[in-house]
């Protein structure tokens, strides 16, 4: 699933290990999320959103939402 997790993490200067510890998941899970090899559960997506103080959909763009033309 596409996401901005790597950008958010590097902006805070965290390593993948540190982010994993903050989220309560393994470093492998963080790597899998960043490389789009894992679609997170709603619970994990909300934990990530809470950690970065952003709406979940901002970090994980909803591929099912219709794009609105301006």
């Amino acid at each position: 699933m596409k996401n901005t997790l790597r950008d958010l993490r590097t902006a805070r200067g965290w390593s993948q290990q540190e982010l994993g510890e903050a989220l309560g998941v393994s470093r492998q899970a963080v790597i899998a999320l960043e490389t789009e090899r894992h679609a997170p559960s709603l619970d994990l997506a909300y934990r990530i959103a809470a950690l970065f103080e952003k709406p979940a959909e901002e970090i994980f763009p909803n591929p099912h939402r219709k794009r609105t033309r301006r």
Binding site: K2, S26, A29, A32, R37, H38, A39, L44, H64
Partner: protein
């Protein structure tokens, strides 16, 4: 003693169990004839115990892991089962109808874990098809 990570614990105990199986399996098969008939179930149970412990270790690893690792392990187990079931089915049926070497059914257990180890090399993502 420091608490081991789920992966480390599984790897360490898995290797110890594999060594235990190797140590127990061969001698028991060789001395089978020397064991009194009414005591042979003990030998069978003794050999089964480390295999059952391996199953428990996978269950424990899944319980202690995060959602990503849990999904990957589940995928690996499913792929291993999908490889093992047809193989044992074809071999079993062939053995029934054609005279061939008879392999004890208990060999399915060590072969399962060997296939699982091979599958682990190839399956390391949790990705499932989505409508993205």
């Amino acid at each position: 003693m420091p608490k081991l990570s789920p992966n480390t614990e599984y790897a360490v105990v898995g290797v110890l169990l594999s060594v235990l199986i190797a140590i127990l399996y061969v001698p028991v098969l060789f001395v089978k004839g020397l064991i009194p008939a009414d005591m042979r179930w003990i030998a069978g149970a003794l050999l089964a115990a480390p295999f059952l412990a391996m199953h428990y270790m996978v269950y424990r690893l899944m319980r202690r892991s995060d959602e990503f690792l849990r999904t990957v392990i589940a995928k690996r187990l499913i792929v291993t089962t999908l490889l093992m079931l047809p193989a044992t089915l074809v071999y079993g049926l062939t053995q029934t109808f054609v005279e061939g070497p008879v392999i004890p059914i208990t060999f399915a257990a060590p072969v399962f874990w060997v296939v699982f180890a091979v599958v682990c090399v190839f399956v390391h993502g949790s990705r499932v098809p989505t409508s993205e």
